[in-house]
């Protein structure tokens, strides 16, 4: 008896590629999370909190140690900081020079934090339009300034 091969339908294809949101989140890369405003903000906040927890204090302690060394062996160096209180400023300066340290496993453990990332295209489009508007506004201002020209005949600005 000849076998009848069933023609694959559109529904079969959908069924093959359907995955849960949690599994979808696991397929995403760090760039995907950084390109989506909600997850990007979460990662940045986490990075700030992590830095504030231990590293900042370690840097402040390091500064205090170096300040004592400077007072003992290099008179004048760091001499304007009488109360040894610039450690926090140093920590802030260092924080601005660090790469974003991220841990995306938090989204694997709690996919709800990334809810909406599957509709990222829409968000990206919205952001893109906002940026475009800002740019055109700036260009508009520049154009207005350049419009003023000096007339050498009458020695006035037009």
């Amino acid at each position: 008896m000849p076998s009848i091969k069933k023609k694959p339908t559109v529904y079969d294809n959908i069924h093959d590629t359907e995955i849960s949101f949690a599994d979808y989140v696991k397929t995403l890369t760090i760039e995907d999370f950084l390109n989506y405003s909600k997850t990007c903000k979460y990662l940045e906040d986490q990075h700030t909190l992590d830095f504030d927890y231990l590293p900042r204090e370690a840097i402040e302690r390091c500064y205090e140690r170096m300040k004592k060394n400077a007072d003992a062996y290099f008179p004048g160096i760091l001499g304007k900081d009488y109360k040894i209180e610039e450690g926090n400023s140093l920590a802030f300066l260092i924080f601005n020079n660090l790469n974003l340290k991220t841990d995306i496993t938090v989204f694997h453990e709690c996919p709800e934090l990334a809810r909406g990332i599957d509709k990222m295209d829409d968000d990206f489009a919205t952001n893109h339009i906002v940026v475009k508007n800002k740019k055109s506004e700036t260009e508009k201002n520049i154009y207005t300034k350049q419009k003023k020209k000096f007339d050498w005949g009458t020695k006035t600005y037009k």
Binding site: A58, Y73, G76, L90, I94, N97
Partner: protein, 95 residues
Amino acid sequence: MEQKLKLISMSNDEPLDSRTVRLFKSLSDMRKRHREENFQEWLKECNDDEVPNINFVKWFINDIREVLKHYHYEITDEKIFKDEIASFIYNLSEH
């Protein structure tokens, strides 16, 4: 007799002429160059044990780098990082 004070605007909307712009630019460049020279001289200055200030700056940067390494942080740009730390130390120092 009382005199009324008049507030006179020191600037108008007209832009500066090119000679004045060049003058301010060269003054700014000169100040920048002067600051840079002072900074370089300060780095070469030595303490009582003949150890130059630049060594202290290097130790300082290495110590900070060790702390960051311990917490698995990466520096975005090494050169900018070093420049900023050196400027930070210089600005807080008596010279």
